[in-house]
């Protein structure tokens, strides 16, 4: 099959950028989307043109590197599927596809379809961990975890940090990402000692980044390639409100004390 691609090209963060049109010819339905782009790029290089820059690594839907909008939908039309797992059999001859990078102020565009997602790492650094010095751990079976909690923690822990949730959200909120980590660790007994501190610090960091607020729209859940549920946002709100009453001293010096924004209306 033959397709027409309209791809966002942008040289760097300060370049205005524009859409450019490309032909993808003789596309095999068993190809993955990125393999199709590889072929387009090989042709561009052979013609002396600049290949399309896009982020990718594992090509099996787990590293979270890849991701862009296809016709306005983060990671494209298939549910629970990253762009690298999307295969061309889901498209047909003559299709016209618009490829754009994640659009969010917190994710500045670096080049073409590549964006800077370090804001996510900073949110994790603010509290998305359990403090457990190497060597100090008790026996692994010393702390039973109910199968139900373990499974729910695993559901939330499945987040790959790709940023689709931010890209799909009209507010560019990172609530699903932050909520997923807060839920994963907060559902486990090991995560209890730091539960308040974690919620306060991670939410404060997310407010400090340029993400918008969550207003319970739900676009995030619809595009998440790991099908994380928005109940993780409820958990985050609950943990945050509880912590905000009980203990504000956990905030770092550089994090402002602010009205809780996550989950509330502006």
């Amino acid at each position: 099959m033959n397709l027409t691609l309209h791809v966002w090209r942008q040289k760097n963060a300060s370049d205005a950028g524009r859409m450019e049109r490309y032909a993808a010819r003789n596309v095999n339905p068993d190809m993955s989307f990125l393999e199709m782009l590889d072929v387009v790029n090989e042709k561009l290089i052979e013609a002396g043109a600049e290949p399309i820059a896009f982020e990718h690594d594992c090509r099996e839907g787990i590293c979270g590197s890849c991701g862009f909008m296809i016709n306005g939908v983060a990671h494209g039309p298939e549910r629970g599927t990253t762009v690298c797992q999307l295969h061309m059999r889901h498209f047909k001859d003559g299709d016209e596809l618009y490829l754009e990078p994640w659009r969010a102020r917190a994710f500045p565009v670096l080049r073409d379809l590549m964006v800077d997602r370090r804001a996510f790492d900073r949110i994790i650094a603010a509290g998305g961990y359990i403090t457990a010095r190497t060597g100090s751990a008790p026996d692994a079976n010393g702390l039973p975890v109910s199968k139900e909690n373990s499974d729910r923690a695993m559901d939330a822990a499945a987040c790959i940090g790709c940023g689709a949730c931010v890209a799909a959200c009209p507010n560019a909120s990172a609530a699903l990402f932050t909520g997923a980590k807060i839920s994963h660790l907060g559902l486990l007994p090991q995560g209890q000692p730091e539960r308040s501190r974690r919620a306060l610090r991670m939410v404060a960091q997310y407010n400090k980044e340029l993400f918008g607020s969550c207003t319970n729209i739900g676009e995030c859940e619809a595009v998440c390639p790991k099908e994380i549920r928005i109940e993780v946002i409820s958990r985050m709100n609950r943990d945050y409100l509880r912590a905000a009453w009980k203990d504000r001293s956990a905030l770092r010096d550089d994090q402002p004390e602010a009205e809780p924004r996550a989950g509330g209306r502006r």
Binding site: E50, Q85, L110
Partner: protein, 637 residues
Amino acid sequence: MVLDSKVPSGPIEQAWDKARFEMKLVNPANKRKFNIIVVGTGLAGGSAAATLGELGYNVKCFCFQDSPRRAHSIAAQGGINAAKNYQNDGDSVYRLFYDTVKGGDFRSREANVYRLAQISVQIIDQCVAQGVPFAREYGGLLANRSFGGAQVSRTFYARGQTGQQLLLGAYQALEAQVDAGRVKMFPRTEMLDLVVVDGHARGIITRDLITGAIEAHAADAVILASGGYGNVFYLSTNAKGSNCTAIWRAHKRGAAFANPCFTQIHPTCIPVSGDYQSKLTLMSESLRNDGRIWVPRQARDMRPPAQIPERERDYYLERRYPSFGNLVPRDVASRAAKAVCDEGRGVGETGLGVYLDFGDAIKRLGRRVIGERYGNLFEMYERITGENPYETPMRIFPAIHYTMGGLWVDYQLMSTIPGLFVLGEANFSDHGANRLGASALMQGLSDGYFVIPYTLGNYLASNRLEKVDATQPEFRSTAVEVEAKIARLLSVKGKRTVSSFHRELGKIVWDYCGMSRNAEGLRRAIDGIRNLREEYWRNVNVPGSEGDLNQQLESAGRVADFFELAELMCIDALHRNESCGGHFREEFQTEEGEALRDDVHYQYVAAWEYKGPETSPELHTEPLEFNYVHPAQRSYK
């Protein structure tokens, strides 16, 4: 070059405890005076950087991806081994040690393997403490499953995402240290060379992948945890970015490269579907717990599997190896698959595939239980092939997955360059000629959490290192060489893309240095690689410039290194006139077609020293002694 493994004397059960007591320590208040570089943020690198940060060292950590959490450890599916014996089925530290030495076909260093088995129990404790959501039984205790090469159930897992969850534990701990100011993280920064001052590793040269800037970083010790070199085959289960550059450049600066021909082929991967194929997708070995592998008895039987009755199916692993059945080690399973496909009994359009069938398991356990165990793997398979494993057997074929070879290290995980430590898949140490399933995750975390914190301290406290800084001449001259190589790649402006060369290189090594090798084929491969490499430097087309983001340039440098490594790999395979583990020389096999080792002549580690461009490498050998697990013909019957 002298290879001194520094294994402590005395009984193996006490070797590591003895070593830890004898090693020198760095006073807690002095640790912050030392600068350590860690390259790579996978299980080995991430855990090392986090732990060294906790101890108080100043750590600079580098990765080429946009975030440390993208390291390819993330893709490991099946699980992590540990000798906890929670299942009460006969496991012990000694048994895990024994299984690993035997599984490695008696080509690994016993003391390193024993230590690995010993430390395995602490790894699980550490991961649980960090919140890794391992699977649990209803009573709240940890669940286990079996893996290839073992008759006990010792593998801990988190659905089909064990690698991701373990890596997130290490990544989160790493980010906590970044927040605390003890680790400085440099993402999108690729190491392109090692700087050696007065014979010690004292820093690295890096390229910023966004701005193109070449920078020098000085340190008191350098740790490489940059993963394996499977992508020398172009098609492998590795991530597209996985490469050998960090270890290869270190090799050219004096780090011996051990056993490069010991590459592992994983038996259960999704078969190739076309020429545009960019990588191969692994289907976890854990599937072999419940799936049954078969091909039709008849050659070229093109009937859909549902129409082939039981008596016309050959469950060839169960037939050939009754006691291990579908759970034979990877090298045995891969060769068996190749054998039946060579006989014309392979399935799928290309005839390069065998069935992994869950029909019986679904009848026995029900769809829901199978879904709980393998649901996400089944979905992954269906996304790629469009076929539903609940309804029709999966098609699988062997593919390159892991590399047992890597930089030579001693018992302290230090290479032949003082101050250069190598962890995880990047080193050669623990898996011999074949790695058992679920042990790569174990090794990465063992090296990073529990070995390097001790051995690094010993190195720092035992050596009076002069202070160096990045403006010194050695840093400048190394940076100049890096810039020159980049300029050369960009100046060729030939006719072929980097990918097209990489694909052709991959085909040569897959055909002649893959599952099955012979002397003539290897010689042909060496010639083919040399010719192709010569053409590369004459005809490669690397568009763009060095001063900004240039993915083609990144690839070009990595492929240039793959050419050189591929040649060494074939030289190593040619020199080793025996079959062992993943290295199968057709000239050396038993009557039943199993690997035939030559313990008289080849019971050693082959450590190659780089002697210069267009010069043959020099072989050094470390003889291996097996005092505890006595070499025997590996039988999984």
